[in-house]
Chain length 319, copies 2
């Protein structure tokens, strides 16, 4: 396993052959994320019950002490060890739960866990960016249905957060602060909100029913949130995920991605603005938005749904 | 319909609501890309038979004379008309054909058609980048199974080709010329080749079975190929697509993307090196490589297959 840099785009990619054999949609009684119950399967969590569990991914892409790369690098073909971290955050010991149904209190506990892991992983010298995310739904390719998220500690700032930080640098100001002000002033893309956070369909999303949650006041990362703000984030996360499930009457698959300040030692406090990006891949109740030629070959996203229309549909389904 | 610029990433995206109702996997006797046969459906092609047909996409994302945008732009939220072109290239009047089975002569005819459309669309003032591609297979989200490709004329250089051109600018030389030299010197990622082209699994691909085809000698675009080189490109395209179908014994879905020089009036002759990128989305005979949190949320690709291993598997299946 190793990281390799693509010379055509400059992007680093990870190659981890052992993951090809990772556990793939096991039956419920073989779920490695369930608690270890007396007489039952010994799972990843050696307890009969738990609130939230965090542990190293058993099939990691990035590890604290990586083996030497399998190939030698050159000036053209840069290679590096797959240094970093891959953690699993199990939201509940209930195999059938979903993030949307955790309830306000446990969602708050998830946020506290994220903040704690952001600090712990970010303090490691090999971790330049702590990326908290959730893959939900078989359409997204999840291999374990038990409700869980993941945390990757990348050894460099990955491409999408990097673009955001570069845009802030180019603007000489926090772009997301401007976006929040614009979405508050013109609420036609609003989905929900409270004292500390706003949730909206972005002005130019990649996916039709994409929703971004951003702090109203500039906060670089989760650890900058006070107690009330963490409660408010839990509230907005709950409303957005419940709205998604109510939109078409089924549990909507999505990727949830938390973007916050890098932990590479730089001062990102002005450029980074905490936000959570939800990208569901449906373009209607029965159709998926596939990434095809324009997206995969050219990087240009095309959407069939006006963002204002998507926001109106979501608002109409709020719990 | 309009183009909107995402302020967080700086990327332009297209919003075209009318495409939501586009023809979706019609039964074979309702195929709009079949010839119009006496007494049958009147299709997009008003002839009883044809070799290759090119016409404007009936559900375009970009058009020569776009309507005014549906929203007003601001400094933060830039908006532009959806100017450009969307064409369909039907490879054959045989509904059951595939690109891999067209034969050398008709593949050459496709290449000549691509070159002709590159010149014609590139000459339009609203087209800065001519992007030739094919989406193949229901797993890629194709809505019409009749063998066809597409050509988009974007009004700006889209993100992925732009990254490639920026990498060349940063290197002060053609990166792909270096890549071709490296792949010829060390053939462990080679798939096939001939006098004019090499096909290889890239050193750091996004998808496990990705294959790039590049001209051995620096050629900015299809129109720079001479007669023999066009024949050689047809030969390599045929071998690569047939190899894909032989890999696991079924017709392999993929995106095929042709990257060549922009047509925005700049001089890209040194920075642009013609190449064709194939991105199949399978990671094994039975599993897909889904884009999930790391790819969609962070832009960081993770692969389970060593590129050298994928190349060896492909070489072993060459026709």
């Amino acid at each position: 396993m190793e990281r390799r840099r693509d010379p055509l785009t400059g992007q680093w990619r990870v190659f981890a052959g052992h993951r090809q054999d990772r556990t793939f949609l096991p039956p419920p009684d073989q779920c490695p994320l369930c608690p270890t119950r007396p007489g039952g399967l010994v799972t990843e969590i050696h307890k009969p019950s738990f609130d939230i569990a965090v542990f190293d991914n058993r099939f990691p892409s990035l590890v604290a002490s990586p083996p030497p790369p399998s190939v030698a690098g050159t000036d053209l073909y840069a290679v590096a060890p797959a240094a970093g971290a891959c953690e699993v955050v199990v939201y509940s010991d209930d195999h059938e739960a979903t993030f949307a149904g955790l309830g306000r209190e446990r969602t708050r506990l998830v946020i506290d866990t994220w903040a704690e892991r952001y600090t712990a992983l970010g303090a490691r010298p090999e971790v330049a960016y702590v990326f908290i995310f959730e893959n939900k739904g078989e359409e997204i390719g999840v291999t374990l249905s038990h409700p869980h998220g993941q945390i990757y500690g990348y050894p460099e700032i990955p491409p999408i957060p990097r673009l955001e930080l570069e845009a802030a640098a180019a603007a000489g100001r926090c772009v997301l602060c401007d976006v929040v002000a614009a979405e508050v002033a013109d609420d036609q893309r609003a989905v929900t909100g409270n004292d500390s956070f706003v949730a909206f369909v972005p002005f130019a999303p990649r996916f039709p029913y994409e929703v971004h949650i951003a702090s109203r006041v500039h906060r670089p990362s989760l650890v900058d949130l006070d107690d009330g703000e963490r409660d408010d984030l839990a509230g907005v996360l709950e409303t957005v995920t419940r709205t998604y499930d109510l939109l078409w009457g089924f549990s909507l698959p999505y990727v949830m991605a938390v973007h916050q300040a890098p932990t590479d030692g730089g001062d990102w406090s002005a450029a980074s603005h905490l936000h959570v990006e939800f990208t569901p891949i449906h373009r209607s109740a029965t159709k998926l938005k596939y990434l095809a030629g324009s997206e995969l070959g050219a990087g240009a996203f095309i959407s069939d749904v006006a963002p204002e229309q998507a926001a109106a549909e979501l608002r109409a389904r709020r719990p």
